[in-house]
Symmetry: C2
Subunit: 346 residues, 2 copies
Amino acid sequence: MGGGGAGPSIRLVAERAGVSAGTVSNVLNGKASVAPAISARVRVAVEQLGYFRDNRASRLRSGDSRLAGVIVPDLTNPMFAAFVSTLEQLGRRDGYDLVVVSARNDPAEEVERLRRIREWRPAGLIVIPCDGALAERLPGGPPMPLVVADRIPDAPRFDLVAVDNAEAAAAVVRHLGVQGCEDCLVVGTSLAISNVRERWEGARSAAGNLRLDFLAVGFDDHAPPALEERLRGAGRPQALFCLDHETTLAAYRLLGEMGLGAGADVAFAGFDEMEWMRLVAPAVTTVRQPVEAMAACSWSMLRRRMGGDAGPPQARRLRCAVTFRGSTPRQTASRSREADRTTQGG
Amino acid sequence: MGGGGAGPSIRLVAERAGVSAGTVSNVLNGKASVAPAISARVRVAVEQLGYFRDNRASRLRSGDSRLAGVIVPDLTNPMFAAFVSTLEQLGRRDGYDLVVVSARNDPAEEVERLRRIREWRPAGLIVIPCDGALAERLPGGPPMPLVVADRIPDAPRFDLVAVDNAEAAAAVVRHLGVQGCEDCLVVGTSLAISNVRERWEGARSAAGNLRLDFLAVGFDDHAPPALEERLRGAGRPQALFCLDHETTLAAYRLLGEMGLGAGADVAFAGFDEMEWMRLVAPAVTTVRQPVEAMAACSWSMLRRRMGGDAGPPQARRLRCAVTFRGSTPRQTASRSREADRTTQGG
DNA sequence: ATGAAAGCGCTAACAT
DNA sequence: ATGTTAGCGCTTTCAT
């Protein structure tokens, strides 16, 4: 099973087939034409010896990297897992090996990972950064094709693929207004993350008569006391709008622990659609991000860069889908069970 | 940003520092003692030129792989994502780079991935196989350290880490019996997967007076008509027990679509604890697999093998935790809200 | 303690 | 169409 460090070398194959190493290489890579008889002999030798190429030598010598690095903040976030999974498929289709790593939400680890990946000499990089300070984390050296996805770095000098955060958040807030909400508490992990920032700004821009307030709750998967306090007693807002995956989950759990019904006692909406949001009753109003499309877009941008395109940085914004469900019911009168209504964010 | 395929070579650094390449290597790897003055000169040159090592050349020459491969059936399965994430942390701690790939539940792709990974000459492999036929998929060649996790291959000649599937399933079934259930439909994706097989056998062994029936539903995330039919009308079983993540999700969704209440109309239990199972009401009785422990155990076994241990294959079974919740209520009289009760499976 | 030289496995350039 | 030679960037051995 596999080559335990050793494995036969191409020279051994050549010897066995009675040809030169160069010819074996030509047979295996189809680079130059080889006589059918020789080709067959080589293949037999390869088979008999269980030969397989050593990519370290091959790529070193040829200078052709055919390797791309992918770094995400957290592999256990289903959104990022789907992103990676899609990229993997695309990379493979185009003959690229992918090195996938997670920074585990830790900027220090992000730096470390970036340094280590680089030592494999990837032809390009796709990064979902931990936060906006990516530029300071990139190791020095000659520039390399790089696409930043999902989160926007402070320095605007990278190719970028993201979603229309502001528009999607605005759509949710408008909906809350239409449903008769008067005030809404908006929560997110941290405004240091561009997504959260843009969503909060989008929400504010669409507030109208709706009173909005923001609370940062951090990355702990347990909601902080501050949030619990805001939801307790008479001052409780009519609506709760969560701006990211972690927050949505933590806040929903908190509601349950406090005995508050999403929809019944507080209107509830969140970002990042997940399976459970359709399983609970009432189902949860959410913004679905087009993760697969983000991955596809990132990959095609990176491919172009790896192909040598040196134009100015490009930015693409993809559209989210907002699905209104029972957790954001009309505040005044009839709380009739309506079918889901989906709209384009923006 | 990183080294765009090029990057300065160690010889350039040597030249700049006025020393030989070997000395630069010694400074960077701390292998031999170098005079402080020289060492400092080298570091300055490294800094100025933005030099970083080329792992392809380094590992090729030294013969030290320090690379481990990880292949899982599906990265979007949260269990496997957690597995990989833990491994990544452990690998890094021990100075290993990890190549992580997904087979996307496709045996053909599994073969492909195994072949490609091997060309990077990893020192070892951790595999969660698509199915039992792993032995046939491993590329030929000299044997390499290999740990199989979670799913048991038909051929029993590998190091193995798995959970106590039978005991955990038996605990659930016993609980259903105690709760007064008379018949239970057991569903799983496929008996071709060892976990499902072992769980089904564990369930049967603990059935007692409980009538059990098995239905395979495949990998589609939508439940098949056969299941819907079994749940419709008078012949509906009192309990539904799902043997894996995919099935649990699909079946729960189906119940909702059919207007059946888990717990109220059918007792419901599943495998693979997920966040939503505590968010729905009533909460879902589930078996929690110790994923992080599986990853840790896999890594330590692989490390030992990579360290040269050539003993006979070892098998480790880790214990699951079964949590009884409201979805499996007493069938006869009082359906009182009890607090969660957790037990050790086995 | 340092330099010089060899060579890991492979592919590319050139020669035949 | 095939063999020969050189060298990718690095580490290691052997001199010194």
